[in-house]
């Protein structure tokens, strides 16, 4: 297949279109992503929803429901704010960065998700099948990235106004850029994964080489500055009118740093699972992972007897990450990634439980 890349006229076209569309937000309608991609993103968002509910219960107990409801209503309305940019244009903010900074990413995930679900079901804004994808980019990635960046810039101890504003600007800008990049990635993998026999892309038509610049140029130029400006404007107001909201949140909890590191790891893990099928684009077998059959295909006349004997000793339940019953190698690849990750996490969790129990018993005995 011919390598597709952005030509000059396309850069101009997407930039102009993107600036016009910057007023419509980042909501993915149905039709751009395959139902399989949508289902996988639902599965990826699920653990973050569970974590968000747990965070809420830990923080506010019985007040959980009204707090979530009001924060979701706030997220809904903040998406309507038109922020003026230097140069005369205006753009919509997502508001997920400020939600992540002030509420904490767990609670922000729930609030922004509820707002997105109501937008899809009641206002027809964003697809119904794409709810998982929209929640993943705007309700999960944005608050977590914004919170991590803000905390890194503000630093430990009592936060200072200037640092907080700089942190808010960078967090707003980068978090939306990450959300846009994830969306571009989801669009860009569609033609590699879903085409008909004639090679027609069945969903979003552009490969990564086109989708990423087409999404990123207008977002970096318009939407990201809007998010940064709104985040700074709200932080500036809160510093002058309600500083307690910022100082109480910014003070790290005793286990906050460790939890933050773990959160980062979970995000990285989720991102890695999404990009797993990219491996299908690479031809051949990974270097050094040849089986006896592949070695003979490589032209090696001699197969070591031990390799031949031991190679067939263990039959993997999902050989080559392919589940023939699914009739689709991409779904198999994703499912394999989720099953593999899940099993790994389960084993490590069981081991850690055993170790913790053992050390607690030893402490008690001591």
């Amino acid at each position: 297949m011919r390598k597709l890349r952005m030509e000059k006229w396309m850069v101009a076209y997407f930039a102009a279109l993107g600036i016009v569309l910057a007023t419509t937000g980042l909501h993915i309608p149905d039709g751009y992503l395959s139902p399989v991609t949508s289902a996988i993103l639902f599965a990826l968002v699920l653990p973050f929803w569970i974590k968000g509910v747990r965070d809420l219960r830990a923080r506010v107990n019985a007040q959980t429901i009204p707090l979530v409801a009001l924060m979701a209503a706030f997220s809904f309305i903040i998406m309507m704010f038109n922020v003026p940019l230097p140069g005369g244009t205006t753009g919509h903010a997502v508001g997920a960065a400020i939600a992540g900074i002030v509420l904490g990413p767990g609670v922000a995930t729930i609030a922004v998700s509820i707002a997105l679900i109501i937008q899809a079901l009641v206002f027809g804004d964003g697809g119904i099948l794409a709810i998982g994808a929209n929640c993943f980019t705007m309700a999960v990635a944005m608050p977590y990235v914004a919170d991590a960046i803000y905390r890194a810039i503000v630093g430990a101890g009592e936060p200072q106004r200037v640092r907080s504003l700089v942190g808010g600007a960078v967090a707003g800008y980068v978090s939306l850029a990450v959300a846009a990049l994830l969306t571009a990635f989801l669009f860009g993998i569609q033609p590699a994964l879903y085409t008909d026999a004639a090679g027609t892309p069945l969903y979003a038509p552009y490969p990564l080489s086109v989708a990423i610049p087409a999404m990123m140029i207008p977002h970096l130029a318009v939407a990201c500055p809007v998010e940064a400006l709104l985040t700074v404007a709200i932080l500036g107001y809160l510093w002058s009118a309600r500083p307690a909201l910022l100082t109480s949140q910014a003070a790290p909890a005793p286990s906050g740093a460790a939890a933050g590191r773990l959160t980062g790891l979970w995000i990285a893990l989720a991102a890695l699972i999404i990009i797993v099928p990219v491996g299908l684009l690479a031809p051949g077998t990974a270097w050094g992972e040849w089986g006896a059959h592949e070695l003979s295909e490589l032209g090696l006349d001699f197969i070591p007897a031990g390799l031949e004997r031991l190679g067939s000793l263990w039959g993997a339940p999902i050989p080559d990450y392919d589940i023939p019953a699914l009739c689709n190698v991409n779904i198999s690849y994703w499912l394999s990634a989720i099953v593999g990750t899940g099993l790994t996490v389960l084993v490590i969790w069981l081991i850690s439980k055993l170790v913790v129990r053992k050390s607690v018993n030893e402490e008690r005995a001591g």
Binding site: M1, L4, E7, M10, Y13, F14, L17, P29, D30, G31, P35, V53, A62, Q63, I65, P66, L67, A69, L70, M71, A72, A73, F74, F76, I77, I78, M80, F81, N82, V83, P84, G88, T90, I110, A115, A120, L121, V122, F123, G124, G127, I128, L129, D196, G199, L202, Y203, A204, P205, Y206, V210, L230, A233, I234, L235, G236, Y237, L238, A241, R242
Partner: protein, 268 residues
């Protein structure tokens, strides 16, 4: 400098107007209004899923066209439908324009300047347009013909946890409170403005509005909680179980199932 504050006020008002219009449409006696909310929710999911699984443009054209009589039978205003049936897919088509030229495949039409429309490119953009149009207008059939509490009831009967239902219900209720609050704050600020505001001043005002909204939301959540406790809320959500599936639901459900199965079979 365009007045971003006025633009925000217009967006907020349009949102209020949309939901009021939706409530009015939902009370009319059209086809979709007579169906149980569960039937509608599952029907729309089936329609959207079918539209996204079908690979033949001809079959998608039928699905896309089928929305029109359904919308007419459900008394949906032409102007509202046009936004979702034509507007949203047109944006998808505009996004897809370069794909017409760069998607590898047999040349269909050669333009001046070395550009050529490929058959695969045209097919791909057509698929995108039809999928997006069918999905968006199916979703709006649900949104415009179903009152929110009926939708919540349907979600409850379909197994959504009570706590989430309560959060969704309260969110919806407070969206209007906050929308009104935002509208009042914007009107109050705009009525005190003489001449155009600079961009930086507008950003400052937007920040103050959004910040006030955030602080008020947090305060209000505490007040709402106290009010709930005073009425005896114990932390357990309860929903009113009502509504029964009618013959019309059964007939419609079977018809839709047959239609979607046929579309999936023909559109492989």
């Amino acid at each position: 400098m365009k007045n971003a504050l006025a633009k925000t006020a217009r967006t907020v008002s349009a949102s209020l107007a949309f939901s009021l219009a939706a409530e009015t449409t939902a009370r009319q006696g059209g086809l979709f209004q007579r169906l149980d909310a569960r039937t509608k929710l599952l029907s729309v999911l089936a329609l959207v899923l079918t539209a996204n699984l079908v690979h033949q443009p001809v079959v998608l054209v039928f699905l896309y066209a089928a929305i029109l009589p359904l919308a007419a039978a459900s008394r949906i205003r032409v102007r509202t439908l046009a936004r979702f049936w034509l507007g949203i897919p047109l944006v998808a088509a505009l996004i897809g324009v370069p794909a017409l030229f760069i998607t590898p495949g047999p040349t269909l039409y050669r333009l001046t300047g070395g550009l050529a429309i490929s058959a695969t490119g045209l097919r791909s953009v057509t698929l995108l347009y039809l999928r997006v149009g069918t999905s968006a207008s199916s979703a709006i059939l649900l949104a415009l013909t179903t009152r929110w509490h009926d939708l919540l009831h349907a979600l409850a009967r379909l197994g959504m946890p009570d706590v989430l239902l309560l959060a969704l219900g309260m969110t919806y209720r407070y969206i209007y409170t906050l929308l009104e609050l935002t509208n009042d704050m914007l009107t109050a600020r705009l009525s005190r403005s003489v001449g155009p505001l600079s961009a930086s001043k507008q950003r400052q005002v937007q920040g103050a509005l959004a910040g006030t909204l955030l602080a008020r939301s947090l305060d209000m959540s505490g007040e709402v909680y106290l009010a709930m406790r005073s009425r005896g809320f114990s932390g357990r959500a309860r929903t009113l179980q009502r509504g029964r599936l009618q013959w019309l639901d059964l007939v419609w459900g079977v018809g839709l199932l047959v239609g979607c199965t046929l579309a999936l079979w023909m559109g492989r």
